[in-house]
């Protein structure tokens, strides 16, 4: 039998999203994600190690080049990282935070991103999310965990009418179907 050890890593297969024809929605495939947990004292060193500001206020994102750190909780950051640089994250932190008082967990495959662009997107989100998307209440740059219908979601406002939505992978078809149905009420 052939030795299969050196087979090439297969391509990532994300949950399928049927083509809805709605150009406002784009699945964002791939990318690396980590959940970083640490206490107040470690914020500075960790930020230095990763080269990104982590001392942002709660529910705000910090972005450097194509890296993002979303502060979802006082001690929790969702790191969105280029897949090519993902392997370096753990060693960088381990080298700097030698007391191991932190947690870094790879969740690259746990969730999938959807990009939503369009003037009706706040209304569309409000079909299933009870947050206020007025710019004063949910400014550009805000990111938070919340719910979208019966799914947990992370929602990041990148622009007045651009939102980045992350949901756990098994909820993607559900969320995608709802977005497409609701989208029909708010024509492009």
């Amino acid at each position: 039998m052939a030795n299969l050890v050196h087979m090439v890593a297969p391509a990532r297969r994300v949950p399928p999203c049927a083509d809805t024809g709605d150009r406002r929605y784009t699945p964002v495939n791939g990318g690396a994600r980590f959940l970083l947990r640490l206490r107040e004292a470690a914020i500075g060193p960790a930020a230095e190690a990763l080269g990104i500001d982590l001392a942002v206020p709660l529910n705000r994102a910090s972005v450097v080049n194509s890296r993002g750190a979303m502060r979802l909780s006082p001690d929790e950051w969702l790191l969105l990282w280029p897949e090519t640089e993902a392997a370096s994250v753990a060693p960088l932190l381990a080298a700097r935070l030698t007391d191991r008082r932190y947690s870094l967990t790879d969740i690259s495959h746990r969730q999938t991103g959807l990009m939503l662009n369009g003037a009706a997107v706040p209304d569309i989100l409000n079909s299933g999310c009870a947050l206020d998307f007025d710019l004063a209440a949910f400014p550009v740059g805000m990111v938070t965990r919340t719910n979208f219908f019966k799914a947990e979601a992370v929602l990041w406002r990148q622009d007045e009418f651009s939102f980045y939505l992350e949901v756990w992978r098994s909820f993607v078809p559900y969320v995608w179907s709802l977005l497409s149905i609701v989208g029909r009420e708010y024509p492009e």
């Binding site: 529910n59 909780s73 006082p74 929790e76 009870a130 965990r145 919340t146």
Partner: protein
């Protein structure tokens, strides 16, 4: 749907939260020192007032933190919310 003031994230809709029961119910550091009656009380008996109630909520679909809320169980009016470890107002 209540509007619950998370001490970390601000006012958020109730559906983002999980109710956590009465606040300030302390689990003994050494349960072995508590007698049977006391442990049964700890397990099962809770304040159940009509009026002000200190209770825990977790911002489960938000920052994930547990915190305490002082809410009137008849009017639903929320007087205060405060972090775990802070004293009851």
């Amino acid at each position: 749907m209540l509007l619950i003031p998370c001490p970390y994230c601000g006012n958020r809709p109730e559906i983002e939260f999980a109710y956590g029961g009465e606040a300030h119910v302390v689990r003994a550091a050494d349960p072995g020192q508590v007698d049977d009656a006391g442990w049964t009380e700890f397990l099962y008996c809770r304040n159940n007032p009509r009026g002000d109630h200190a209770e825990r909520w977790r911002h489960a679909y938000g920052c994930g933190r547990f915190f305490n809320v002082k809410r009137n169980t008849y009017t639903d009016h929320i007087e205060a919310s405060y972090r775990i470890g802070e004293t009851r107002p």
